[in-house]
Symmetry: C2
Subunit: 236 residues, 2 copies
């Protein structure tokens, strides 16, 4: 098995069969939550204008800039807000625009099959990969404004602590560093993550609690290459 | 104390009073070795042409491309080779051109006072910083061809395990991740580092052994901002 981790999205990543994109706070947690409460699909955009263009019947616009809801959007990029308004998400098409997650999700999807992973759906993603014996994985952490995010590397480590038990043929340095974080208590990650501290100061404690509730949802948001449509456990 | 770590050199780093640049395999280890055996100063260049331009009396050209000595240069970027030819380095001016270290050293020096650190001079660098109560430090890891290097993050972690015991006002996520690596045995870092494995395959075991000999040399290679002249423990 070939396992690569990338602490930040960057243009010169290797080609892999599967990409696992992580934006623990909060894009990939929001994606898992929205699919869990019954939305139909999620399409990623990297700017609000593109989201407004795609708005149609049965669509909802979700997104944030600087951790705040984008003006004119239906909801922020907030798992707890999605859960609270679950009924509103049933059978809807979601257009999602976030600061960091959009960039890494679009990059990954331009290169291969893409799964959105977070702590909230950790076990489901692992089961999906192991059951199908996926043997070439690139894990892309989204980071925060170009800086490496502790909570994303930690989530990568949690995945790697299981995946690395397979036969490994290549394991890059970033994978080794992330794996080494896997047993740190969640509370310490929340305490030291600069982005978590920022969200806490903004009063977004409910999102922090939810995003660190490991394997709360049994959902695997996945999109075919270049399709940019994340659905739950589609057959590929 | 404000402590930032950067896993790779990048343009948008913060402004700090002091930059600590790490290229454990092998640029900053070579710099510490060359100063320890009595060379006068080290100037960094990012291409061989620039090195040939600067060649004069009492200068030596040191450098590598793809871990091999550059054609027409006096020596490779090899601490064990420098130590073996110690007498030749006495009072010489060194021009150093390496693949990864040159980039991070030149970036750092364009922004502030710069210290070249590696495992080989770890204790000396720590004593320098603590004695002078330096309270704003950016640690830049050089990486390998744009990828994060395990051995550089480990060296950053070894520095941070001491520095983080001061009063900390800001500690970025990369610092926390690096700190978490500090107690891994050297042998495991050598085993998992992709770059170390490559050098081993090339028969450069002597360099690996030397570069992981922690605090072998009591030397602090330091350059004033924009001066690009690394000398031993100059007064700033």
């Amino acid at each position: 098995m070939r396992l690569y981790t990338y602490f930040l999205p960057k243009e010169n990543i290797e080609t892999h069969k599967y990409y696992i994109v992580i934006d623990t706070l909060r894009a990939t947690s929001s994606i898992a939550t929205a699919l869990s409460v019954g939305c139909d699909s999620i399409t990623i955009v990297n700017n609000p204008e593109k989201a407004f263009e795609l708005k149609g019947e049965h669509t909802l616009l979700l997104g944030e800039r600087n951790a705040m809801k984008i003006s004119g959007f239906d909801y922020s990029n907030s798992p707890s807000e999605i859960l609270k308004n679950a009924a509103h998400f049933k059978n809807k098409k979601i257009i999602l625009c976030t600061t960091n997650g959009s960039k890494s999700l679009l990059l990954a999807n331009s290169k291969g099959i893409t799964i959105a992973a977070s702590l909230i759906n950790l076990k489901a993603v692992l089961q999906y990969l192991l059951t199908r014996k996926i043997d070439d994985i690139g894990i892309i952490c989204s980071g925060t404004d170009g800086n490496v995010s502790l909570e994303d590397v930690f989530t990568a480590g949690r995945l790697l602590s299981v995946l690395s038990k397979q036969d490994i043929t290549y394991f890059n340095d970033e994978s080794y560093i992330a794996l080494n974080m896997a047993n740190i208590p969640h509370a310490r990650i929340l305490q030291y993550s600069i982005h978590a501290q920022k969200l806490k100061k903004m009063g977004l404690d409910k999102d922090l609690t939810m995003c660190f509730n490991e394997s709360l949802f049994n959902v695997v948001p996945i999109s075919k290459m270049n399709k940019n449509e994340f659905k739950s456990k589609i057959d590929i």
